[in-house]
Subunit: 454 residues, 2 copies
């Protein structure tokens, strides 16, 4: 019997870090290239719903390994049909660099050309065009990305529509796709507090080793943690190999916000407060993030999350109910099903850890936590028998309390976490993302770019 | 990657159930055999320290598979030198049927003879003698069983002596060993409440299957559970395969008592109260026991515990600090070391799950739990950073409280569990085992025997 787990290999066998750090080389690479200024993807209503810069960042820093850039038409087809890249490694979503017909006309590039991508007016990355192709129908694309109750009866409960933010992203894409590899040539600098939590795969793997973490379990978040989240983290982490996981990695998904979300700054510092407050000590707990405009694809999203965290070097990933879900489009255990026995209609007749070219990060499928007044503690649904007395955690209830300026009791919200919320509440004049925050965030983004004269 | 665990095979490959249930066959087998009345092993001071009937029970019902009886001299030598049986399967302790020279003279059997063993004056089992041999020096045997700081410097900190109850057992053995297989021919009937918790390996394996428990973690106990034990159980159980363990098996070691121990009846019903009170619901929690006069051999004891629970069908076994320890003879993490990397001086240069003919039950090595007034909960030493504020669980402190008639607060002792203690306190006029209990228990034992006319 083999007892010890080891850091899994990157998805696809090797980490793709496509970042040029030598300014001379950067200039040489960008020399004479046609220039394109990255713009946010806007919905029909003109609302920013995505910024491709985040995909470029996550691709070039290796979070999405083995993906290296914007996908060719055949690769998108294969992803939609089999949820696999052309090299057969599993991958849930099409990722493309899309521009409008007008911009394309102006840019006038074809296969073999290189484009210099600018962000906030500064050189950022290059895209080596390998193919130019067109999305015929973005609504059809959006439907195919997520599936439907007819095609995916195991897990899809409702047809996707404009109320689903991920669907809206695909629906809002521009028609022309420049497919090819990205290379960052001018590393963006993260604004505070993002700078402190930036830890791409190469660095996180080093960090785990430095900390002596043989086993690390990931916690996915887009939330300021209440005590229920804290218990999910620390209790899921009792799995491991011959002893509980050495490390707990919080990896927040940072990207376009929806109204009512907590600001990204509160999320990161709220999680940090959990370790600074000693609820999970910092020696065992580390807060990081990945740039990604969440697609809310529940099982599909969980596959991407698994890829990101495997690339970061995690051995385990915890999954609760309604993972990365919005609304009732999916069955609430769809993600756990994908990791447990697979979802044939997406192409997986067994767990995505058991298929060929699948993942090597191990799921920890968790049920519910609630507050139990009989046990007098946060209890786990599979242990606690006091179902009549249980008091469910409600994120919206706690958000309501916070919004009313009520300091929640420490058994449901840690005071140190609350302080982090208040800090950013003062900064943004509201504890949650409002229209101002959403728009400002998509203008400022998380980064600034150094000057680079090309 | 293989995700799912399955019920491990019995230790040694097959379950040994050596119980004859047909009275006609029983009579035939026992016919004309010389008779020996089982007596307790007495210490120098005349105190009962062991009853071989418990070993016969645990052997014949398969808890000790692949052991089938009392060991030959060569097997005892091999166990002492390599901690392996003659068939190479690992095993920690010599197990022998020992009698005095006087009794031997009277019995006058040799290899090839069969002895009828009586318990409480009734036919109980037969022993087919394969070898008669002598223990030359029981002090030397006792020393060799447990080891010494010189020979086992990795884990033994103090020389064993008459303060160690396991050492005293071996020291107190009679000189003549009748080696050979046991067969129970008249199944004892357990007294209440023991009858309700009797679940030998064949039955426990059936029960796990009936309950749909793919993964089951064992909790070793000789204690009435306080809330720290409850948390050890339910938190260790978050390990599993793709999800937390389906079942939590409490398997108490029931045997000779020491003064100050909780009575066996309180231990069993105290654990049952945990599930009846809904702290770990009965669907996930099952209380059982194994008859064994504990040797307190810490790592060696843990090996036997692993064998017992693997035979019962458990996939996991939790181990805390000072597993099955008494005093400071062993390093407090000696058991975890044996299961983690092995103890070369006992013959294991890697985990006893990784050696040939080793175990197939997986360890879950756990650190400490304490009450944390900042977290306001039972906290785990590897998560909680409030080491200045922590309030350690002290079994002796809680026992002190109980002894004074103080009802402990429900965050450290569940009221339902306390009730079970009180119930037996009334029965025995004292919450713990006193001299009366110890002597009475060894006279009554846990069983009565039906009549069987042979």
């Amino acid at each position: 019997m083999s007892l010890r787990m080891t850091t899994p290999p990157p998805h696809g066998g090797r980490l793709e870090e496509r970042v040029v750090r030598d300014p001379q080389l950067a200039k040489k690479l960008a020399k004479g290239c046609p220039v394109y200024d990255i713009k946010p993807t806007l919905s029909d209503k003109g609302v920013p719903v995505r910024n491709v810069y985040r995909e470029i960042m996550s691709t070039c820093y290796g979070f999405f390994s083995p993906v290296e850039g914007s996908m060719k038409e055949a690769e998108v087809e294969k992803v939609l049909n089999e949820r696999r890249l052309l090299n057969n490694w599993i991958f849930p979503y099409p990722l493309v660099f899309d521009i409008s017909e007008e911009d394309y006309k102006q840019l006038g590039v074809t296969a073999g050309d290189r484009v210099l991508l600018r962000l906030k007016g500064k050189p950022f990355a290059i895209l080596d065009v390998e193919e130019v192709w067109r999305i015929k129908d973005t609504t059809e694309l959006a439907n195919r990305v997520f599936g439907s109750p007819e095609k995916n009866p195991e897990v899809v409960q409702e047809a996707f529509n404009e109320k689903h933010p991920g669907w809206v992203i695909y629906k809002s894409l521009n028609p022309v796709v420049l497919a090819g590899k990205y290379t960052i040539i001018n590393e963006p600098k993260f604004r505070a507090p993002f700078d402190r939590f930036w830890c791409p795969p190469v660095k996180s793997r080093e960090e785990f080793q430095k900390r002596g973490w043989r086993t690390v379990i990931n916690h996915q978040t887009r939330n300021v943690p209440h005590v229920g989240h804290e218990h999910l983290m620390k209790n899921a982490a009792y799995t491991g190999d011959i002893e509980p996981c050495h490390g707990i990695l919080v990896n927040a998904i940072i990207g376009v916000k929806r109204k009512g979300d907590y600001p990204d700054e509160s999320i990161l510092e709220g999680h940090e407060a959990v370790n600074q407050g000693g609820y999970i000590k910092p020696e065992r707990h580390m807060v990081t993030y990945c740039l990604w405009d969440m697609r809310y694809g529940n099982p599909l999203e969980s596959m991407l999350h698994g890829i990101i965290r495997q690339n970061m070097g995690c051995t385990h990933h915890m999954f609760g109910r309604d993972h990365a879900a919005v609304g009732d489009y999916y069955d609430q255990f769809a993600t756990q099903t994908l990791w447990d026995k697979g979802i044939p209609s997406y192409g997986f007749d067994k767990s995505i850890c058991e298929v060929e070219y699948g993942l090597h990060i191990k799921p920890q499928n968790m049920r519910e936590f609630w507050y139990c007044p009989v046990c007098q503690e946060i209890a786990y649904s599979e242990s606690c028998g006091h179902t009549k007395q249980k008091e469910k955690f409600s994120g919206s209830f706690i958000r309501g309390m916070v919004g009313e300026g009520i300091f929640p009791p420490r058994v449901i919200f840690r005071p140190e976490v609350y302080k982090a919320v208040v800090k950013w509440w003062k900064e943004f004049n509201f504890p949650f993302c409002n229209q101002n925050y959403v728009v400002a965030q998509e203008q400022k983004l998380e980064v600034d770019l150094p000057d680079l004269d090309v």
